[in-house]
């Protein structure tokens, strides 16, 4: 879907002081953000996934923007949640961000024991933490700041 006229992703092409709508899509999501710009100036960003590099591009785009800007994030839950967390760090407020999730997708689990997050692709009540190998029970408690569900050491209360 990348059109020839679409600017490259690295925050370039965004004039300093932009106060329109930034539409960032992740993965193979189509051009879902279009109907959410409400006729305001619009800047598109397309990313494969939310990773340190693409999030830094998003941060630099937001760093060039001024109060008044809106952000539309489209794609899998885990990507748009990570992007929303990065946007909040940049000073964007919750009501200035629209999340367009394209369905379930993988979820991200935060380990409070080692503070590393682990991505879970299939629905599962438990996951082995990527950081410390603790078996984590997955809860419904979601942190918007971290963009992840809280995990905790499973079976910790059972006598071994």
């Amino acid at each position: 879907m990348r059109s020839a006229s679409m600017p490259p992703a690295a925050g370039t092409g965004l004039e300093p002081g932009f106060r329109g709508v930034i539409c960032a899509s992740f993965g193979s999501t189509g051009d879902t953000a279009e109907q959410h710009s409400g006729g305001r100036p619009r800047h598109d960003l397309r990313f494969e996934s939310a990773n340190p590099e693409t999030l830094s591009d998003l941060r630099s785009a937001l760093g060039r923007s001024h109060v008044g800007v809106r952000l539309v994030l489209a794609g899998p839950q885990s990507d748009i949640r990570a992007a929303a967390a990065a946007a909040a760090e940049c000073g964007l407020l919750e009501e200035e961000v629209i999340l367009l999730s394209d369905g379930m997708g993988p979820s991200v689990i935060y380990c409070p024991h080692c503070r590393i997050t682990t991505t879970v692709r299939a629905a599962s009540p438990e996951v082995a933490c990527q950081g410390c190998a603790t078996t984590l029970a997955i809860t419904d408690h979601f942190s918007r700041r971290i963009g992840a569900y809280l995990g905790y050491s499973a079976h910790a209360e059972e006598a071994s």
């Binding site: 937001l62 760093g63 109060v67």
Partner: protein, 328 residues
């Protein structure tokens, strides 16, 4: 005179507060005086959140005034009061205070706090609205948070101009004084369109001024969560139509005549309703409505809460229906 005023009893709004002594009175402008209070025994006073106000008793009444300090470990509380000739009498009483007088005050109350995650505060004041804005500016300077002050005042009649200027050498980012509408409009538009994403806006001044600033901010795309305002001048309200209230739990019906507030009617009937500002600002006198459509005239409830018609501020709000049923 203050001593005799105290003998009239402690008003509920300042009950559990502090008995302080006036330690300084200084003239700011023709109509604005600054008053400093301290503990008579010289002890420290409770810290407060920037933008907080103090409720001060005068005679049998109380009034709320913004504190002008940063709020961090204060040894004194300072307020500045604009004399309002046709007001409720509080400002006139404040202007009569002199060093050594004792006054009963509340503990500081926070209703205009800075946002802790903000990376820049855009502080906009008009006239006496400088008081809480000065508190914010002082706190931001102390804490090393960038802050810009836009201060609109009549030429030569601005209170605390020297205090604000002095902050420039202590960390305040900028101070822009405007003494005419045109220059203020230019500054405001420029500021509203050039702020980095971590900026929050705080405004205090007369209602029409605040509405202008907030409306323009919204037009420039500022979301509601970035906008913070401190209302001190409730608009003059008309006397309204008479209506009846049915107090369901008490099993009594009361007539509220035109020109008399529901709060006054309830008080006359012996009901004790917590209240403070009596102007529809503070939210203390909230009542639950069981049936009927209140005529909301307060500045406290959100539009959504007003539309729900389940809560009303009995100090200013009345009824669109001939009768209201209240959970009292």
């Amino acid at each position: 005179m203050t001593v005799t005023a105290l003998q009239t009893g402690i008003h509920p709004a300042v009950d559990g507060g502090l008995l302080l002594e006036v330690t300084n009175v200084s003239i700011q402008t023709d109509s604005i005086v600054s008053i400093t209070f301290a503990d008579p025994s010289g002890g420290p006073l409770p810290s407060y959140v920037p933008g907080s106000h103090l409720v001060v008793q005068y005679g049998t009444g109380v009034n709320a005034y913004s504190l002008t300090g940063s709020g961090s470990a204060p040894s004194e509380y300072a307020i500045s009061v604009l004399q309002v000739e046709d007001g409720g009498g509080g400002s006139v009483a404040m202007h009569r205070l002199s060093v050594g007088d004792r006054v009963q005050v509340s503990r500081p109350r926070s209703a205009f706090a800075p946002v802790s995650t903000a990376t820049h505060h855009l502080l906009v004041a008009a006239g006496i609205g400088i008081t809480p804005i000065l508190s914010h500016a002082r706190a931001a300077a102390e804490r090393g948070i960038p802050a810009s002050v836009i201060y609109v005042h009549r030429r030569g009649a601005g209170a605390h101009v020297a205090d604000a200027s002095e902050l420039l050498s202590r960390g305040l980012t900028e101070l822009i004084e405007c003494t005419d509408r045109g220059s203020f409009q230019q500054v405001l538009t420029e500021k509203l369109t050039t702020q980095e994403l971590g900026t929050h806006l705080y405004v205090c001044g007369p209602d029409p001024f605040m509405n202008t600033v907030l409306d323009q901010a919204r037009e420039h795309g500022w979301s509601q969560a970035r906008l913070h305002s401190e209302a001190f001048g409730a608009a003059e309200l008309d006397e309204g139509e008479p209506f009846t209230v049915n107090l369901v739990r008490s099993g009594i019906r009361l007539d509220v005549p035109a020109g008399v507030s529901l709060l006054e009617t309830l008080e006359k009937a012996g009901k004790s309703i917590p209240n403070m500002c009596r102007k529809g600002i503070c939210g203390e006198c909230s009542l639950s409505v069981l049936r009927g459509t209140p005529q909301h005239r307060d500045l406290y409830l959100s539009d959504q809460e007003k539309a729900a018609n389940t809560t009303m501020m009995c100090c200013v709000s009345r009824s669109d229906d001939p009768e209201l049923e209240l959970d009292l």
